[in-house]
C-alpha cells in the first residue's frame, strides 16, 4: 500500500499506524503522529487503520522560538 510519510511516498505492508511506524524504522522513537492532518494519540495508533494514499506525519521535538 502506498502512503505518504512526512511528504515522501512510501510503500508499506503494515495496515495500522503502530505497525507502520515499526516497519518504517521508528521503533521506540519519541514521536507524535498525525494522519490526514488529524492528531493520532500514541494510544490510538494500534487501532488506527491506514488506507491507500493516507498522509502520515511523524514529528519529534526540535528547536523553537
Amino acid at each position: 500500500m502506498k502512503i505518504t510519510v512526512n511528504g515522501e511516498s512510501r510503500d508499506i505492508a503494515a495496515t495500522t499506524l503502530d505497525a507502520a511506524l515499526a516497519e518504517l524504522g521508528y521503533g521506540e522513537a519519541r514521536v507524535a503522529t498525525a494522519v490526514n492532518e488529524g492528531f493520532v494519540p500514541s494510544a490510538a495508533r494500534p487501532g488506527t487503520t491506514l488506507s491507500e494514499g493516507d498522509r502520515v506525519e511523524i514529528l519529534a521535538p526540535r528547536q523553537g522560538g
Binding site: 521503533g27 514529528l59 519529534a60 526540535r62 528547536q63 522560538g65
Partner: protein, 257 residues
Amino acid sequence: MPTFYGTQVSSRLMLGTAQYPSPSVLAEAFRRSGAGIATVSLRREAAGGGAGQSFWDLIRDLGVPVLPNTAGCHSVREAVTTAQMAREMFGTDWIKLEVIGHADTLQPDPFGLVEAARILSDDGFKVFPYTTQDGILAGRLLDAGCEVLMPWGAPIGTGLGLNDLYGLRTLRAQFPDVPMVIDAGLGLPSQAAAAMELGFDAVLLNTAVAKAGDPAAMAEGFARGLEAGRLAYEADPMEPRDMAAPSTPVLGLAVLE
C-alpha cells in the same frame, strides 16, 4: 515574578532554543541568563535519526519548563493539530499559539488566531497567543479563553524593538490585570528594559540572543536589562517635562559677575 495560568515562573525572560551555534552555547545562554521558560517546536523526524531524543535530552537538562509553539502554522487546522501533537510530546498543556497570516511579515492572522485559541482553550489548553498590539483582538482572545497575551514588539527576527509604543502602552492600560509578554522583534537589552518600564510582565526572544556574537553574554545582558526595567517600573518613574528644571539648588548661588 509573573504568574501564567496559576504557575509562577522564575524569570521574566522566556528564551527560544533555535539558531544557536551549538547545544553547549544554548545551555550556557540559559545558565547565564536564568531564563525561566524554554520555547520548543515539533518538526518531521527521520526514521532512526534520533534527533528528537537528543534535543529533548538537552532541554530536560536545562531544568526549565518548556513552552511548545505552533511556529510556521498558517491555518487553524495546522495549528490545532500541531498543538495536540505537542501536548502529547512535551507533556504540557501550555502552547504558544502562532497562526501566521503572511509569510514575509510573519504577522499573526487575527481571525485564525481567535478561532484556534477558542478551540484549544475548550480542549483544555493553556494558550499563549502570539498576537499584535490590537486591543480589540486582545479582548477577543481573552473571550476565547486566553489568560495571557503575547503582543509582538516587531516582526519575528527583525530586532527592531518596540515598534508601536503608543499601541503597546494602550494595550497595557486597557487590560491591566492580564499577564502580558512582549513576544518577538527585540534586538537589544535596552528594548527589553523599555518593555518592563511600560509594565509588561516578561519578554520572549530568540534571535537576538542566538545570533549575537556571544549568545551567552547577550542572554545575560537581556536578563540585566529586564531587571533594570522592572525596577524602574516598580519605582514609579518621574514625569517627563519639556522645559529644563535645575536639579542643583538655585538658592545660595554665588554672585560672581
